[in-house]
């Protein structure tokens, strides 16, 4: 028999899952770099909220710690690092160049979310845990939508944010499927994510200094041209 409290928490967790997915859609449809970054922060907050809810339900200190790590890394450190490393004009009110227009992008993101549901469907029905049933498909959808925005956006910072959104998806599923992962592994993963941001940020700064733009389409000097055999 499931208690009323557990049911309430599972309901709230499902709500958080829905909001994570909504934030993923919002990231695809937002045109400005700063807006995308804001939605990433919002999404990370919902991921952390899900960790707190499940942690409360299972009485697990580890999940509370995980939520705190999430907030410390994605909500506080990463936006701060980006702002410190990069000149303001890179992430402020500027439109992102997109390969595919926004309505089509939204449609593709929707298809990806459905595909994610089908991909992990058999696992979800086998798991029988309502928390896994909420988090695993949404996490997979977050991963796929993040990957799509990475491919569709041809600029450095939006691409980096796409990677972080993918990471959020993986984390969101991880809260449900690997809640008792050793804390040292969680910490190492968080530090690794911050390092990714620092390295890519430094690289982006060097690229803006040397090449003058961060549009990936401007970087096409290196490619394979067929050799003619005499």
């Amino acid at each position: 028999m499931v208690s009323a409290q557990t049911q309430l928490i599972q309901g709230l967790n499902a709500l958080a899952a829905g909001l994570v997915l909504l934030a993923a859609f919002a990231m695809v449809t937002t045109r400005q770099v700063q807006g995308v970054l804001r939605f990433l922060v919002v999404q990370s907050l919902f991921v952390a909220a899900s960790a707190f809810l499940i942690g409360f339900n299972r009485g697990s200190i580890d999940l509370w710690a995980l939520g705190c790590i999430m907030i410390a890394s994605k909500v506080i450190t990463i936006p701060w690092v980006l702002r410190r490393l990069l000149p303001a004009d890179l992430y402020e009110r500027r439109e992102i160049d997109q390969l595919i227009n926004i309505p089509t992008s939204l449609l593709i993101a929707l298809l990806l979310a459905i595909a994610a549901e089908f991909l992990v469907g058999p696992l979800v029905t086998a798991a029988k845990d309502p928390v896994v049933q909420a988090n695993l498909p949404i996490g997979m959808a977050g991963l796929l939508i993040g990957a799509y925005s990475l491919v569709a956006r041809r600029e450095a910072i939006p691409q980096l944010i796409g990677i972080l959104a993918m990471e959020n998806g993986a984390f969101f599923a991880g809260i449900a499927i690997a809640p008792d992962l050793p804390l040292i592994a969680e910490l190492a993963i968080a530090i690794d994510v911050i390092l990714i941001v620092v390295v890519v940020g430094v690289l982006t700064r060097n690229i803006t200094r040397t090449i003058g733009t961060t549009e990936a389409s401007a970087m096409s000097e290196l490619r394979e041209e067929p050799r003619s055999w005499r």
Binding site: A126, A147, I163, G169, A170, L181, A185, L203
Partner: protein
């Protein structure tokens, strides 16, 4: 104990290179520490041969045959590349100001490479593999030219995009391990033991995700596109480590996971690996025919060899696993030699275009002989070690009943062989395109080439007993089921 030393030495070296008073001797620090590290790796290999496995911190830092072999490879390739970099970096990159930064970063890169095989805890393997990618990115972009930055960017996006995908895979793997009663300490050893009882669906999903994420890092087609760019733009000693070890280390994690998945019932994933491996070999073989830059040529040859190793692992027999391990070892020692030779040509002629180099034997006999030797070795000509390992892979494939795959693989290997030969032949002979060089190549480069040549010459005709038993142990880890 030796294992803890082997893992912490590069960190200490990185710290020392960063200290202001020691910045001038960063190169010497790097070489000395790597020499210590190599001896630690030899000690570990010795202990593994004696006892089967070395346990430094139970459940966290452990080494079996495969780990010991990889540690030996990492330290050997990295020390030779470090020696080579002494003369090369001063000669080629000009600015001495940031050399300490280069070496500090290089030591961190070595740390990440060495820690992957030494880790027993599977979640941390993901972290370490990501660190390898990050430090490699910084090293590829070291020269800060537009080309180098573009190459570093392509590499960063393609390989870091794999990070969340493989993280998802590792979390799924943990889930599979835990729900089948494995507890929370998920080690490689524990996974081998639980392979038969874990849910095959979960295992397959996690392997798929890790394969996509790490396959991009090890340059398997169709995620190989960063590899030739990075290799044409990075400083040559970094190319040697990139091709020799940076691609092999994620492949090592894939192969370990593959052997676990193969241990579960009804897994037909081996056949898929054969197909994907052959795809990489095929793509590389045809790109080798039309490549115009000799550093890119060796990069495509790396894609080819990664494909061969994956194919061998897909055959899933003990003999094929032995071939895969031998191919890993032979590829990393031979490929690093290739880049040292290519670097000598680049130093002497300052062009990367194959068509602009003619008559190299008359321009720089030393560079020409090194190039001839290493391309014979990497293409797999008979007296060299790669011939032996490719031959054993082909025969193991025939014995395991994959005759079609073996025929395709053999044809593709021959195409790659011919392609490398046509390319190198056009560089070595004919009317010299440049005047003969008076200037002597940096002494450290020559020394590094002589050190790197030794195992390539020896392992082709004689495999010392301890190395053979180490490879057999390693093959048991990969194909023991």
């Amino acid at each position: 104990m030796a294992l803890i030393i082997a893992v912490s030495l590069p960190l200490l070296a990185a710290f020392l290179c960063w200290l202001r008073p020691l910045r001038r001797i960063a190169w010497a620090i790097t070489v000395v520490f790597l020499a210590l590290n190599l001896s630690a790796a030899v000690v570990i290999a010795w202990q593994v041969l004696a006892t089967g496995r070395v346990v430094a911190v139970a459940g966290w830092l452990e080494a079996d045959g495969l780990s010991a072999l990889l540690l030996l490879m990492v330290t050997f390739v990295c020390i030779v590349a470090a020696i080579y970099s002494g003369g090369y970096m001063r000669h080629e990159t000009g600015s001495k100001e940031r050399l300490w930064w280069f070496y500090s970063n290089y030591n961190l890169f070595v740390f990440a490479l060495a820690v992957v095989p030494a880790l027993a805890r599977v979640n941390l393997v993901w972290v370490a593999v990501e660190l390898v990618t990050l430090f490699a990115t910084l090293l590829v972009g070291y020269e800060s030219t537009p080309g180098a930055l573009e190459a570093a960017w392509k590499m960063a996006i393609l390989t870091i995009m794999g990070a969340p995908i493989s993280l998802f895979g590792f979390l799924t793997l943990y889930w599979a391990f835990r729900t089948s009663g494995g507890g929370t300490s998920e080690t490689w050893q524990g996974l081998y033991a639980m392979a038969a009882t874990m849910s095959p669906n979960l295992l397959k999903l996690s392997f798929l995700l890790v394969f996509v994420g790490f396959g991009a890092k090890s340059g398997l087609a169709p995620m190989h596109t960063w590899l030739p760019d990075a290799h044409s733009q990075a400083p040559t000693p970094i190319c040697a480590v990139l091709s020799g070890m940076k691609t092999t280390i994620p492949l090592y994690a894939i192969l370990r996971l593959l052997s676990i998945v193969l241990g579960s019932p009804d897994a037909r994933i081996g056949e898929w690996m054969v197909v994907l491996g052959l795809f990489s070999v095929g793509i590389a073989a045809f790109l080798l025919l039309q490549v115009r830059d000799y550093k890119r040529m060796f990069a495509y040859s790396t894609v080819e060899h990664m494909g061969i190793i994956l194919t061998a692992a897909g055959f899933a027999t003990h003999a094929a696993a032995y071939g895969a391990v031998a191919q890993m070892l032979n590829h990393s020692i031979t490929k690093s030699l290739c880049f040292y030779a290519a670097g000598m040509v680049l130093l002497a002629l300052e062009t990367r275009q194959i068509s602009q180099v003619r008559g190299l034997f008359r321009i720089s006999p030393f560079a020409a002989s090194a190039l001839l030797l290493c391309s014979l070795a990497i293409a797999g000509a008979p007296p060299f070690p790669i011939f032996l390992s490719e031959f054993s892979i082909l025969s193991a494939g025939l014995r395991s009943g994959h005759s079609v795959a073996v025929i395709v693989l053999a044809v593709l290997i021959v195409i790659a062989f011919v392609a490398i030969f046509l390319q190198v032949n056009s560089m070595l002979f004919g009317e010299p395109s440049h005047p003969a060089t008076r200037e002597r190549a940096p002494r450290s480069c020559g020394t590094a080439i002589l050190i790197a040549v030794a195992p390539v010459l020896i392992l082709g005709v004689y495999i010392p007993g301890p190395i053979h038993s180490l490879m057999t142990l390693a093959a048991q880890q990969l194909g023991g089921h």
